[in-house]
Amino acid sequence: MAVLQKKSMSFSFMGLLAASCLLLIALWAQEAVGLPISSHCKLDVSDFQRPYFTNRTFRLAEEASLADNNTDVRLIGDELFQGVNRNNRCYLMKQVLNFTLAEVLIPQSDRFQPYMQQVVPFLTKLSNQLSLCQISGNGQRIQKNVQTLKETVKQLGESGEIKAIGELNLLFMHLRNYCV
């Protein structure tokens, strides 16, 4: 360590670069996907090209929206994205997806069959694919916007959960829009 510190700045930088290159190559060789962190916020376009799941997701949303008579309040809309730049919107949608799965779909999983049992595994898969998705910098604004969504759902109680299910088509389209 002491030896390293004595060396010139550029030399240690070069060393670091070489070391990281080696590390990357090693990771690559092990097929451990040594990609930059931000690219974990990515879903494959093919996830959104399977009509079966697209149809089921939209039908489930349609069914639930029929039971949602509150036309004034919307969870996934302009407010949710306000102040969040495009690069971070996939991460934002990941937060919404995880909340929807854990706090809405799982508790309501007995309802809206058979669509529910077809859509939940699909969304769970997307959630798993985004498990490493992080953002660089602080995500205060994102947390605030997601918190607002969560509170709205909680405030509306059961009808908030129905509302969230009724917006699964919007969740789907925004995941496609921002993560692909």
Binding site: P51, T54, N55, F58, V73, R74, G77, G166, N169
Partner: protein, 239 residues
Amino acid sequence: MQKIHETLLLLTTVVITVMSNAVLLATLGIQPTHGSLKPQKVQFQSRNFHNILRWQPGSSLTTNGSVYFVQYKMYGQREWKNKTDCWGTTALFCDLTNETLELYEPYYGRVMTAWAGSYSAWSRTPRFTPWWETKLDPPVVTTVQVNASLLVLLRAPELPYRNQNGKNTSMENYYDLVYRVFITDNSLQKEQKAYEGTQKTVQIESLTPRSGYCIVAEIYQPMLDKKSPRSEQRCVQIP
């Protein structure tokens, strides 16, 4: 004979009941309840993103003379907006294409009626998302014959005019459209798929001379697994 008598008796009873109800309503000056005035089956019908709101008169309205009032909004907005073109209309439809131009957005429409000085409650559509619900027309097919081959030109239905960005966007911007072309050899009366893909120009080669062929096409939306109706046939005679 017994049967006929019974039926007649039943009919008479029904007629008397209906008439006495009418008399009762007339003498008491009772208006039909708001519930029965309320327009029914209010829904969007959407073709190529031309979004038309349609409805039926309330159950108590057998006569004409009622007028309708239409409002719309995007899901999540607090205020309903009046559709001035359909404010006091006697028609049973209202074109809301220009009010529902954001194809991925969910919208609502609602209709109220006034009849003989009485207003009904609002009847609202289900949530309507044009991208999901619109039905695509078949492609327009043009054929150009070059010796023993056939050039098939396909055109997707036109989108409604969109002036908010002034751009000419095509259907392909919103769906991954796939064109399917079918060819029928008239002498064999057998249809075959000649092409499936995204190209809008398809060349069908080495057709048999002195034979007749007919071409039809359809549009397939892989993302939704939906297909359009079939186009009109285009028939040619190879010299």
